[in-house]
């Protein structure tokens, strides 16, 4: 049962990822990525992390991907790869490297052996939001605070990076007058 679910979700995730890679249109890519995220979220569920399942769906699928789509639409940058690739030689090389990475993973995996997940059932509370929250506010207090700062900086960054566009436009007008 678990295995079947894993295989299905895994396959979907892979298909989503590959499709994202192949899609010519950035919007399609975003959608395929969404599919992939969803599949991963399912896997999270399989791995007894319901909270992360939720986060994955809300933050990624709900927020980040929407942001992506929004920007894509805003810029009209769905298809930027119509021009010929100036460094086309890189494509096969990249593929080779990707495969090599995969090969390393497979070999390493084989070496390590296929230990099954611990048979024992996890305690019921394992992975529930409460336990996560508890950790977040005790052990991971500091990282938690840092993420706060990071988000703050991101906000500042977005403001800084786009505010002065307006500024310069204004000053441009001013000088234009």
């Amino acid at each position: 049962m678990d295995l079947a679910l894993f295989l299905i979700a895994g396959a979907v995730a892979l298909i989503g990822a590959v499709a994202m890679l192949m899609a010519r249109n950035a919007v399609h890519s975003a959608l395929f990525l969404l599919l992939n995220f969803a599949a991963i979220a399912v896997l999270f569920l399989l791995l007894q992390s319901p909270f992360l399942f939720a986060i994955q769906l809300t933050v990624y699928a709900g927020a980040i991907m929407v942001l992506f789509l929004f920007v894509v639409m805003l810029l009209g940058a769905e298809q930027v790869e119509d021009t010929p690739d100036r460094i086309a030689w890189q494509r096969p090389l990249g593929l080779l490297l990707g495969l090599a990475l995969l090969a390393v993973a497979v070999i390493a995996g084989l070496r390590t052996g296929t230990t099954p997940l611990p048979g024992g059932e996890a305690v019921a509370t394992f992975g529930n939001p409460a336990s996560l929250g508890a950790l977040l506010f005790t052990r991971y207090m500091l990282p938690f605070q840092i993420t706060g700062v990071i988000l703050l900086i991101a906000v500042i960054g977005v403001v800084v990076l786009n505010q002065r566009g307006r500024q310069s436009a204004e000053s441009g007008q001013a000088t234009g007058d």
Partner: protein
């Protein structure tokens, strides 16, 4: 007393030199001071020699250390001079002839703008020559050796505006340097084998510094090692010394500088290039006689080189037009006689010939100087002729000198040359004897030729008005002419033992050279005299009777008979040409190749090339920095894959 007295001998001319360099600006003062110093030096030498002569024979070696010169490791060389019979003889010659030539120069150089400098050089030369002959060790001898070379350079190049003079000066110095290099090697070898450079044992600060000449018998008696070793050492060292002597004494194959050296003022030729400096090689060989004697191989080389030199130069002298070049080749030839004598073991004869030659050749040179002076700097004998009436003193003294050189009884040259030839007969050096004999015939011939060309016939060029030289020049001529007549009686052979001062020189030198007086060989004497007179007359006759055929710039009448051979003789058998093609031209080529090609492009090219290589690699790396962020990621990934791949290998 002698220990400080002998220092006066070289120091007096040195003072003269310093005075001339730093204080004297006047021609007159320069000449006077310089001459006075040399005369004073001569007088001191005389006194010293007499004092030396008063000592018992075995004590006739005065050494005096001024200061420690080189002291490092095992190397100890004092700055010290000595006086022994051989030195005394040389010193007398140097200061005596030197004094006359100084006086002569006052007249000869009159009016030259740089005459002060001239006398300074001359004084310096005498100083150096005295150091050469008085040195008690090889190194100080070498100081004098190169010092006289320097003065020779300065004086040959005295009229440096003339390209010929400049070239000749440099040539003289460089060719001498080749010999000197061998000399240096010889010194190194001497020190390495004997541990000293002193000639004789020297007591200094309570210690005995050994002298190598006295240790040669020890070496010869070495009991250890292969039997050839001591001889090999002696051969090696003496051979190097021979090369050194060849340079200074203008022997084959290094004689080429001397004829060119005639570009200097004539008194210089007389003093340096006839009477004193060029004989330094012979002196040195006599001084290191035990070394030469220890090596039969070297000795036979010495004889051959001397004989060959004598002949080659003698034949070259025949074909010269330049009045001084004749004398120059003649000098080379006579030096060959001396060297050959050394090789035969007749060192006293060599020194004897050195002495007499010093006198009569100085006379001849001064005479030629007088001629040149009287003919307004004419040196080409084709432009002369008939001068005997215009300059009688010069003529008569010149004839005396020529006869002495030719070996006419009883002038100086006869006795000394005869002693050498007699020695050759006595010790069976037949081939060399024949060569030397032929050379003496040639000598008489070219002297006859020269006298004829200069003094007989009609003056062939009338651009000048010939006149006799002033008193200051003729007096030295007369003095030397007297010397040329009498010097031979210094060392009469045993036959004349009853006469006063018979074999005086041999006896005097006995403490140094340990030779017995030479025997008289009537056969040789007769032959030589007959040959000299005959060939001298022949030469005179040939060129007086053919005087009409001699044209300014024309060929020699003898050319008609000998053809190209004459050219060969005129060019001294093309030795100079040989050097030019075999040594100098390749050397220049090599120099240019190394300097223009190999060094900038080969060695430096390699250095710069390394830099270029880095630049080239850097340029390549720059290409990779394409600006595409994806490429950067690609390289990134490559690195990642490699590291992960290494991980797999590591954890295998």
């Amino acid at each position: 007393m002698l220990t400080w007295l002998i220092w006066l001998i070289p120091l007096l001319p040195l003072v003269g030199f310093l005075l001339n360099v730093f204080f004297i600006r006047q021609e007159r003062a320069a000449g006077l001071v310089a001459s006075a110093m040399v005369v004073a030096s001569f007088l001191v030498t005389l006194v010293a020699t007499f004092i030396l002569g008063a000592l018992p024979e075995e004590e006739r070696l005065i050494q005096s250390v001024a200061w420690d010169w080189i002291t490092t490791g095992s190397l100890y060389v004092p700055f010290a001079i000595m006086l022994d019979p051989l030195t005394a003889v040389m010193t007398l010659l140097v200061t005596g002839v030197g004094a006359l030539i100084h006086i002569y120069s006052i007249g000869y150089m009159h009016g030259d703008p740089r005459v002060v400098r001239y006398f300074a050089y001359l004084n310096l030369f005498v100083t150096m020559m005295l150091f050469l002959v008085m040195a008690n060790n090889m190194l100080l001898l070498f100081l004098g050796w190169e010092g006289v070379g320097l003065c020779s350079f300065l004086l040959i190049g005295f009229w440096f505006e003339r390209k010929v003079a400049a070239a000749a000066a440099v040539k003289a110095f460089v060719v001498n340097r080749i010999g000197d290099a061998a000399f240096i090697l010889a010194m190194l070898a001497i020190f390495s084998n004997f541990g000293t450079l002193n000639f004789y044992d020297l007591e200094h600060q309570g210690q005995v510094v050994p002298g190598f000449l006295e240790r040669i018998p020890e070496i010869a008696g070495l009991t250890f090692g292969p039997a050839w070793q001591p001889i090999a050492i002696a051969t090696g060292i003496s051979f190097l010394l021979l090369i050194g002597a060849s340079g200074k004494s203008a022997q084959v194959p290094l004689f080429v500088w001397l004829p060119d050296a005639m570009a200097g003022p004539t008194p210089v030729s007389a003093l340096i290039h006839a009477a004193t400096m060029v004989t330094a090689g012979v002196y040195m060989m006599a001084r290191t006689e035990p070394l030469f004697v220890a090596s039969p191989t070297t000795q036979s080389w010495v004889v051959w080189i001397g004989a060959l030199t004598a002949f080659i130069a003698g034949s070259a002298a025949i074909a010269q037009w330049d009045i001084k070049r004749v004398l120059a080749y003649s000098t080379v030839s006579q030096l060959g006689f001396m060297v050959a004598a050394c090789g035969m073991g007749a060192y006293v004869a060599a020194i004897f010939h050195l002495l007499t030659h010093g006198v009569f050749k100085a006379l001849l040179f001064l005479g030629s100087g007088s001629v040149i002076h009287g003919t307004h700097e004419t040196q080409d004998m084709r432009k002369m002729g008939g001068l005997r009436t215009a300059m009688p003193t010069t003529f008569w003294t010149y004839v005396v000198g020529a006869a002495a050189l030719a070996g006419v009884v009883p002038l100086a040259g006869f006795w000394s040359k005869d002693e050498i030839l007699a020695h050759a007969v006595a010790y069976g050096y037949w081939p060399q004897l024949i060569i030397l004999f032929l050379t003496s015939l040639l000598t008489a011939f070219y002297m006859g030729r020269q006298v004829a060309l200069i003094f007989y016939g009609q003056q062939r060029d009338h651009h000048y008005h010939a006149h006799e030289s002033s008193r200051v020049m003729t007096v030295p001529l007369v003095v030397l002419a007297v010397g040329a007549m009498l010097a031979g009686f210094l060392n009469l052979p045993t036959l004349f033992s009853g006469m006063p001062a018979a074999h005086l020189l041999t006896d005097w030198l006995h403490p140094v050279l340990h030779e017995e007086a030479g025997k008289f060989n009537l056969m040789v004497a007769l032959l030589a005299t007959a040959g000299a007179v005959g060939m001298g007359y022949l030469g005179w006759w040939a060129y007086t009777s053919n005087a009409a055929k001699i044209k300014v710039g024309g060929k020699d009448p003898a050319y008609h008979y000998t053809g190209d051979l004459w050219d060969g003789m005129e060019q001294a058998w093309y030795v100079d040409v040989l050097y030019n093609t075999v040594v100098i031209a390749p050397f220049r080529g090599l120099g240019n190749f190394l300097a223009r090609v190999f060094d900038p492009q080969g060695i430096d090219g390699l250095v710069v090339g390394v830099g270029r290589l880095f630049g080239w690699i850097a340029g390549g790396l720059r290409q990779l920095q394409s600006g595409y962020v994806r490429t950067y990621a690609l390289v990134f990934t490559m690195g990642a894959v490699l590291i992960l791949g290494f991980m797999l290998i590591f954890a295998r």
